[in-house]
């Protein structure tokens, strides 16, 4: 892994040429750089020195050789000229000596001239040697001087020389001399010219050297300058750039950007540093990304946990919200922490308005005795201190002044060992209380209704015992006792029927029935006698077409006779009861219309409930049990039929029974109802 990362991060320099230099150690690079510059300087110096030395040598050559030569030549020329003048002098002296006749003197002079000439000649030879001459001139001069000397010797040895001869000799010598002089001068001049040319050449060479030196020094200086700049740039490039790059990347990495690597091209110390750095960076990155990954994982874990928690919370909230019981959570100081929807609607308060506020300022409770329940005296404090759940029944007075009976359980919320609050669960017992009340009322009423005929029977029997004449008693009271007994039986039947209907064990056994005939018989046998007693009229118009359908005759008889019975009971004397029968939309409708006391809209809503009696009905007739309409509703439910009422208080009522054209059979576990009699 490390190797791969390293390799990946190595960026070799594009130029292969620079690579070997770049790869050198910085110390070596610096050494090479400075060494090169010093070398350049030394080279320039050496070349300059060499050039100056050459110039100097040339100068030396000129001063040591050419100039003395020239001087020698000058000397030679002057020597030659001196020889010529010596010869002239010699000739003149000889001529003079001869002329004067002084042989001896003449000879001396000649010898003297001869010696001078020899000396001059020797001197000349030395010069010649010095100038490296080819001795041609010397030979010429030497031969000339030799012939001159031979002439002179001949002249000296010949004493008999006359003036003419002497003149001839002198003339010859003169001629010879002039010729030699000419030759000598030519030769010396030629030498001089040569020497001058040589010197000129040397001088020219020196000038050239100087120029070359100047140019080469200039060139070298400029080249050195460029090379120096180049080298400086190169070395700064090789050394400084990676450092700058390193610095830039460092600051980026310091900011957490690990994507950048130090691009180094050489394996010098910086390269190694960069490698180490990149390695460190990648390690850091790995560490960082490891950390990041861990952080991400942890964050994800936290998120998952949070999500889970939220889901759980939502579940709990939904759970709390969907519970029919009211729930209030309080903190240890009795402030409301939360309450659910049921609690809101039951207590008529909103969570938003009461959250964080003291429980007692919003929820005022009364105990079963109707006295205010003070939180301070409340067993709630026991819940806190003794950590025991309590159950109590209390009354809450709502804003609309209606009472709410609540069965309340209060339990502590314990976190570890500490009580952190309490939770109160309460159930609206109002309905139960109402049902209880209705039951109590019913039992009271039912027992009253049962006691009443029983009282009659009891007293009648006591009278029979007391009376001496049983015949008189029988005429007076026996029929009363029978009616009372029947009333009681009917009431007991109703009670038993309700019990059977409530437990859902009613048998339904339909038989084909002509409904018109069925209702006619019911009116004739059961209703008409009662109607007659109150001078009431029952109107029933049989439909033109027979309506034949399957009904459970006992059950439908019970329904119709019960409704007719009510119609008769709650109507004044002489009123009319109208019974209708028709087929409508695949159903059969039987309607019982009266001109009785009617039922208010409000009472209509509860009319078919068990034990419900309207106040009007109760005041009109005391014998009702509040069970008849409930029984009708239950019977029709079992027969898939319905019952409805249309009524106005004081304007009479119309009850409409709707039954299906075919009643389904139900015999399993079936029980039969006790029949109803119209009274």
């Amino acid at each position: 892994m490390k190797k791969r990362v390293n390799k990946k991060n190595k960026h070799y320099h594009k130029s292969i040429l620079l690579r070997p230099i770049g790869n050198l150690k910085i110390r070596t690079k610096l050494f090479l750089g400075f060494f090169t510059i010093i070398l350049l300087a030394v080279t320039v110096g050496a070349i300059g020195y060499q050039q100056t030395t050459k110039t100097e040598d040339a100068w030396l050559e000129i001063s040591e050789f050419a100039l003395p030569e020239m001087r020698a030549l000058e000397d030679m020329r002057s020597g030659g000229l001196r020889i010529v003048s010596s010869i002239n002098e010699f000739l003149l002296l000889g001529y003079l000596g001869t002329a004067m006749g002084e042989q001896k003197t003449e000879l001396n002079y000649i010898n003297e001239g001869k010696e001078g000439l020899m000396e001059g000649l020797e001197e000349f030879r030395v010069l010649m040697v010095k100038s490296g001459d080819d001795f041609e001139n010397y030979q010429n001069i030497h031969s000339t001087v030799s012939s001159l000397l031979a002439i002179a010797d001949e002249a000296v040895s010949n004493d008999t020389i006359n003036a003419e001869q002497r003149d001839t000799v002198v003339a010859d010598i003169k001629e010879e001399l002039e010729e030699a002089e000419g030759k000598f001068l030519d030769s010396v001049n030629a030498l001089l010219i040569y020497e001058r040319e040589e010197v000129d050449e040397e001088a020219e060479e020196i000038t050239e050297y100087i120029e070359i030196t100047q140019k080469s020094l200039l060139f070298l200086s400029i080249t050195s300058l460029f090379i120096g700049i180049l080298l400086t740039y190169l070395f700064s490039y090789l050394i400084a750039n990676p450092i700058i790059s390193l610095r830039n990347i460092t600051s980026k990495i310091a900011k957490g950007d690990f994507s950048k690597k130090v691009h180094h091209y050489f394996s010098d110390e910086i390269g190694e540093l960069a490698d180490s750095f990149n390695f460190m960076s990648s390690e850091l990155q790995q560490l960082y990304s490891g950390l990041e990954k861990k952080v991400k994982e942890k964050t994800a874990d936290i998120r998952t946990a949070q999500k889970k928690l939220q889901t759980e919370k939502a579940k709990l909230e939904t759970f709390l919200e969907s519970i029919g019981e009211g729930i209030i959570a309080l903190d240890t100081k009795g402030r409301i922490v939360t309450l659910n929807k049921s609690a809101e609607s039951m207590l008529g308060i909103s969570l938003k308005k009461v959250i964080g506020q003291p429980f007692k300022s919003h929820i005022k409770l009364k105990n079963e005795g109707g006295n205010p329940l003070l939180i301070e005296d409340h067993p709630i404090s026991d819940v806190m201190t003794k950590r025991k759940s309590i159950f109590l029944i209390s009354t809450f007075i709502k804003k609309d002044k209606s009472k709410l009976y609540m069965a309340t359980t209060i339990a502590p919320i314990i976190d570890g060992k500490k009580v952190i609050g309490l939770i109160s669960t309460f159930r609206d017992m109002t309905k139960e209380k109402e049902v209880e009340q209705t039951k109590t009322d019913f039992i009271s009423l039912a027992s009253h209704q049962l006691r009443t005929p029983l009282t009659g029977i009891k007293w009648i029997l006591q009278e029979a015992d007391r009376m001496k004449n049983i015949k008189e008693w029988r005429e007076e009271y026996l029929s009363d006792a029978v009616v009372s007994t029947e009333r009681m039986i009917s009431l007991v039947h109703d009670l038993l029927n309700v019990s059977r209907l409530d437990s859902g064990i009613l048998a339904v056994d339909p038989k084909k029935t002509d409904l018109g005939e069925f209702i006619s018989r019911l009116i004739k046998v059961d209703a008409q006698p009662v109607a007659n007693a109150k001078k009431q009229k029952i109107v029933f118009k049989k439909p033109a077409n027979k309506i034949i359908t399957s009904i459970d005759q006992d059950l439908i008889h019970q329904v119709i006779s019960n409704l007719v019975s009510n119609a008769l009971r709650y109507s004044e004397k002489g009123k009319t009861i109208t019974i209708g029968l028709k087929k409508k939309k695949g159903k059969i409708e039987i309607s019982i219309k009266d001109q009785g006391i009617g039922v208010t809209k409000k009472d209509q809503e509860q009319l078919f409930e068990k034990f419900y009696r309207t106040k009007d009905a109760a005041l009109y007739s005391t014998t009702g049990s509040g069970l008849g309409l409930y029984i009708i509703k239950k019977i029709l439910l079992a027969c898939k039929g319905t019952v409805s009422i249309e009524s106005k208080k004081g304007k009479g009522s119309t009850f409409t029974v709707s039954i299906p054209t075919k009643t389904p059979t139900k015999k399993v576990n079936g029980a039969q109802l006790f029949s109803h009699t119209i009274s």
Partner: protein, 123 residues
């Protein structure tokens, strides 16, 4: 016999009970009027001076409670004894608070006990 001239009103909706009470008390020498609802009872009390009213509670038109309340309201001091088949303690309390002189559950008393109660009261 000894109670001649004592005038009693029976307010009872059950025809058989009312009838036997009326007959029996008449046999014991009382002058008896009988009505079958509370409204009639108030009407009778308003127009006659009764020595005692035997009042049923569950009656049509106006029940016994209403009759008692009305009497209390109008400060009519006609003595009333309640004979009812309501056997709840609350009913007895209410009745007594409305000024009744006694409360009896009919089914638990014999006919001659009733006569005895009336005799005792009007003596």
């Amino acid at each position: 016999m000894t109670k001649k001239g004592k005038y009693i009103l029976i307010a009872e909706d059950d025809p058989f009970i009312g009838k036997i009470m009326e007959t029996t008390l008449a046999e014991h020498g009382y002058k008896v009027d009988r009505v079958t609802d509370g409204a009639q009872a108030l009407e009778k009390i308003g127009s006659n001076e009764y020595d005692l009213v035997l009042l049923d509670l569950i009656m049509p038109v106006k029940d016994g409670f209403e009759v008692l309340s009305y009497l209390k309201k109008t400060t009519n001091e006609t003595p009333v004894i309640v004979f009812s088949n309501l056997a709840q303690e609350e009913d007895k309390k209410e009745v007594m608070s409305l000024g009744a002189k006694g409360y009896f559950v009919k089914s638990s008393m014999a006919m001659n006990t009733l006569v005895g109660v009336v005799n005792n009261f009007v003596k």
